[in-house]
Assembly symmetry: C2
Homo-oligomer: 276 residues x 2
């Protein structure tokens, strides 16, 4: 059921994937390579600010798919939680400025805070930011992170949890992101993808691969085809829900960041057509 | 509801925890430290063989809690699957020889084999070995491994999956192991611990901690109290099922292996009483 990928019209790349490149280099590089979409990480906005970044992005002709990342809501005290709310509102401002219709949320976790409490703080945080996001025309997307990040990055670790949270929040401005790296191992994944689709909550789709061995918990993601994730099968489940958005390549990799990024982009294009 | 740990009568240590020690050094060291139980890894048997190891263990007065590890059932061809069956039968022989009533199964996974197929091969493998284990009076325990090991160590990654598999196999000689390191992040953990208890399937309980940051996917486990796992809470859930077996300390850690192991054992004793 999975569609064949024959061109780059649904290929989006995350700026973090080509981290050594500035936003200008990324927009030029992606455009030259025929990539259609870009997801912008906030660190790529910093040097020139959101306003100038927005100009660059509009000039590039790339479609801005999302802004990464909001979230990190849990904190040990009220002051910390308020700082997170404020920062998420700034992310909404930036998303609006660059024309991103979506902010991906890495929801947050703190070693001292029990997971159940962290999950409550996450839902509370999203609810608090949501009216501001709605008024800016920006959606918030809950991304479940791999359980190996449950200590300090996200207390939301399965698509089932993300779905339940989005359904409880129950707003057209809040949904979920499916990232194969975080979710591929889950025996309930197919059912939860369908559930996200039925609820109208499936907002974005991220791809990369899981290397064996994985040498680093953070920065050793593989290019599609280098690992064991059944990317095409999962993409099929996503497409069967009616999702027709971008396939977003999000790779953190010390090895690939050490390469010439134009050559890496060539590898991404090949892997996208042949292994996604 | 969690009991207070006031002595070492329910403390078991895995030989891998003090990997630099030979089995002789471990039995002497644990006995001297007042540790009651030992779980023996197969590499610790190798130098002197299972028969001699059995003599050493009986002489030590330590209770042999389990043998680690059987499993690794999935393979790309029939020959590989048969080799796994044969190896698991050898593990049963060794368990019988050293007086271990239980073999912990690291069920296995292979990057090229889809997880659903690997899970089927695991269940088939357990069913094939089970009569041999039963005739030796040795139980087989399915240990769900953390999802970060789904590529090449185990396709069973939640207690829910382990429970379902044990229930389907439906034998008093097959159950599950709860290891806090693998399972602490799971929002369904409490319910699944109860389910294992109700089914009479909760056979053993492993403890250690999750360090932040975790520097290595395999060998950077923390000592109890060093990380974010709510060990005492999870132990309470386990005990509420009626489980009164050992609290088994299983730590893979390059840092601790580099220490004087007697000093490390002192740290384990302290952490056991104060943070478990």
């Amino acid at each position: 059921m999975t569609t064949e990928l024959r061109d780059f019209s649904r290929l989006c790349i995350h700026t973090i994937t080509t981290k050594p490149w500035s936003l200008a280099e990324a927009t030029q590089g992606y455009s030259r390579a025929g990539v259609a979409g870009i997801t912008v990480w906030r660190d790529a906005l910093e040097p020139q600010g959101a306003k100038e970044s927005g100009r660059m992005l509009r000039d590039s002709g790339l479609e801005v798919v999302s802004l990464c990342r909001g979230g990190f809501f849990p904190a040990v005290d009220e002051k910390g939680r308020q700082a997170a709310i404020d920062d998420n509102k700034r992310a909404v401002d930036e998303a609006k400025e660059i024309g991103a219709p979506l902010i991906v949320l890495v929801c947050g976790a703190v070693p001292g805070i029990p997971l159940a409490e962290a999950r409550k703080q996450i839902a509370d945080g999203i609810r608090t930011v949501l009216p501001y996001a709605e008024s800016a025309g920006v959606k918030l997307s809950i991304e479940a992170l791999h359980p190996m990040y449950a200590d300090c990055r996200s207390a939301v670790n399965t698509l089932g949890q993300a779905n339940a949270m989005a359904e409880a929040i129950d707003s057209p401005w809040c949904g979920v992101t499916v990232d194969v790296y975080h979710l591929w191992w889950d025996p309930d994944l197919e059912a939860e993808v369908r559930r996200a689709g039925r609820a109208g909550n499936l907002l974005s789709f991220h791809i990369c691969d899981w290397r064996t061995p994985t040498r680093d918990l953070l920065n050793d993601r593989g290019l599609m085809g280098e690992g064991c994730i059944p990317i095409r099968e999962i993409r099929g489940w996503v497409e069967e829900t009616g999702f027709s958005g971008y396939n977003e390549v999000e790779i953190f990799s010390d090895a690939f960041w050490a390469m010439d990024q134009s050559k890496f982009l060539e590898k991404i294009r090949d892997a996208y057509l042949n292994h996604s």
